[in-house]
Symmetry: D2
Subunit: 151 residues, 4 copies
């Protein structure tokens, strides 16, 4: 029925920095969370939302409540990787994003992850996503979303 049945998926390409490697000769594992955040912000931008403005103008923060990453293959210096980000769940105060990290040249899966976020105000208290944002998030879920804003 809806004109937006497909979930919005963002693909952002990054090149691995030297600073991100460790002495094992591969990317240090905490950097994946930083890349996921880059993907998350770009997905929101693709949805028409500037996270920067949400913070600055509406005093809304999307704080990380939980993060998971499964590391499938080592990531090497100077290679190009793609962060593929999508929404998994949206409720009024909880948003779950899913991520796949793939090698740009081959598409090989390098890592998978998920982050759960709580919407908070400037005092770090749980807050409700205002309707103007909630509708955009729900629209971006498509039909694959496991939950909607007002179930």
């Amino acid at each position: 029925m809806s004109s937006n049945q497909q979930p919005t998926i963002n693909e952002t390409r990054l090149r691995v920095r030297y600073a991100e490697t460790d002495q094992m000769g591969v990317v240090y594992h905490s950097n994946h969370l930083i890349w996921f955040e880059v993907g998350r912000v770009e997905l929101m931008r693709q949805m028409g939302l500037a996270y920067r403005d949400m913070e600055r103008e509406d005093g809304l923060f999307i704080a990380v409540a939980e993060a998971k990453c499964r590391y499938r293959a080592p990531v090497y210096y100077d290679e190009e990787v793609v962060v593929r980000t999508r929404l998994k769940t949206v409720r009024q105060s909880v948003i779950v994003f899913g991520y796949e990290l793939v090698r740009a040249t081959t598409g090989a899966l390098l890592a998978e992850g998920e982050t759960t976020h709580i919407v908070t105000n400037t005092e770090m208290k749980t807050s409700r996503l205002p309707d103007k944002y909630l509708s955009v998030f729900c629209g971006a879920l498509g039909n694959n979303g496991s939950t909607r804003g007002k179930s």
Copy 2:
């Protein structure tokens, strides 16, 4: 029966660095994984193992296969935190560590996490933990360990 029924637990104290904060005014969430690594290395040191030497002398790496963190409370600049690390599971090629991050002054829980590691050789291939290490890891599990080296 064993004389070593209690699991080995390491407590390492860290002070939050300015570089670890973000513009939300709290510690950026990927730093928790770095602190967990600090705790992990100190737990191993307490067990009598220098991870540095395992890499250098035996060509063994304890690569991260999975990481999870639940963020319970914001962590602030300059406060002292304690990483409490213990072994959860030890098998010949898989080691699971559990973590609690608490505020040093009050003991309040700030985060909980878990990392799963695969033992690898210098070519990043799965390898077996040599007996001299396996026995130390199993000893540190105590009775709370869910798995032992040779089940």
Copy 3:
């Protein structure tokens, strides 16, 4: 004449984290600036000042205007290093700190650096260090300081 002729010097010990190494097998060079900041904050604490409170209570920031580092020797994973920090210059809006990074076991010089800071208010405008702070900074200069608060 003064009872405080010696400059205050802080020595803070750090252990190199795995996350701080890169694939060259040594500490990545931007981490030295983070360690210098740790030393700077500890020097101020030794002088009786909590930088955290300066920010929080007085709305004063000591923003970095310039940073320099000369790298004398590679720094390795898991070794203990000492950041030796002292004040070099103090004026009402400008503070210069000097640093030496040495290997804890041998005292070998690993790096030397200097950071120049501008005192700013919450709007990032240059501000004057209030007298209560200025006197403490000048006292910590000792006789080696190249400049004083009120020349």
Copy 4:
């Protein structure tokens, strides 16, 4: 006389990551060195050299011996910045790069820096840049270069 009188200049665009900010609400100052490294690698790529391969195939490292940065203006989350990188000096074992960081939208200068590098081999010993690389570096200097390979 030469057909390559202009120095090669690389401009690489980056978007500021949340992880790069600190609680002052601006980019933490050590990140500028990481961005300079990104610019440096891209300048070399533009010159036809893959730094990754220099390390991997020729066992050559361009280790940082000195780094300087002057911070001209705060850099904010999510803004796009351009790292403008050029060679300043090339000798057989020493390479100096210069950097300007500018705001992508306005061209406003945000920071300026310089890094001095020593060519080393896999044992971290000073080494000579092989002729195949030296000629490329000298070509990229243009006429503004203060020094040439064989003076």
